[in-house]
């Protein structure tokens, strides 16, 4: 193989979208977005059902996450002006496409879970880095 001297890296691969890609990665890396999106992947849900479906989420984070998603056009918000207020959230096509793009990653994670766990143990066993758990 030719000696590749072009260091360049990711910036070369992603001309100027890199900032936006980081943004998306940040989003999917945040604690709730993927959970909420995948939950909505099963179908439209109202606020309270959503909160029930994503066990640990707080009202604040659900609201914040939902607003981000709506703002980006990944979910739609439909409020019915009824007496007990009812608001339904639903994935848009864009949202579904994101979900579809994230799924493979979840698949990768599930598939290689064992391999990685094993490597971690091996890494610890062979004492590659440090064996010391904590310097006293």
């Amino acid at each position: 193989m030719a000696t590749q001297r072009t260091i360049a890296g990711p910036c070369t691969a992603w001309p100027e979208d890199s900032a936006f890609i980081r943004e998306v990665l940040d989003r999917i890396g945040d604690k709730w977005t993927v959970l909420v999106v995948s939950t909505l992947g099963a179908g439209p849900l109202r606020y309270s059902d959503l909160q029930a479906s994503v066990p640990g989420i707080s009202q604040r984070m659900l609201t914040v996450t939902l607003k981000e998603l709506e703002r980006d056009g990944l979910v739609t918000r439909t409020a019915y002006p009824e007496v007990p207020p009812r608001v339904v959230y639903e994935l848009t096509d864009l949202g579904r496409s994101l979900l579809a793009s994230v799924m493979p990653l979840a698949g990768w994670a599930a598939e290689h879970h064992g391999t990685i766990a094993a490597h971690r143990r091996a890494h610890a066993t062979t004492g590659v880095g440090r064996a010391a758990t904590r310097a006293g």
Copy 2:
């Protein structure tokens, strides 16, 4: 009884790997992992070249990221005991497979960048959410 129906969220979709999936998502969501991995995707690089290839990264974060990656078996570290020390990092097959799984997501981001940006503008224009910036 419809008191509490099974919403069937993400937990249903991902039986028990969900914790690990979150872990992977956290990892790829962190600021540097994907940048480093994708940079190494072009070929092996030594520490300093890596730092040069990922502009904003600090020594600390490069080291931390690299250690995480090595620990998980995503990259290999090869140190040559020469006079000016030389350490080369390279993606393993596992690392390459992660990169291959992340790429589509980057592709998704690049593809829908415009759509999302447009939606954000529309969202702002139509004033969907809020008019009041601060409660006064």
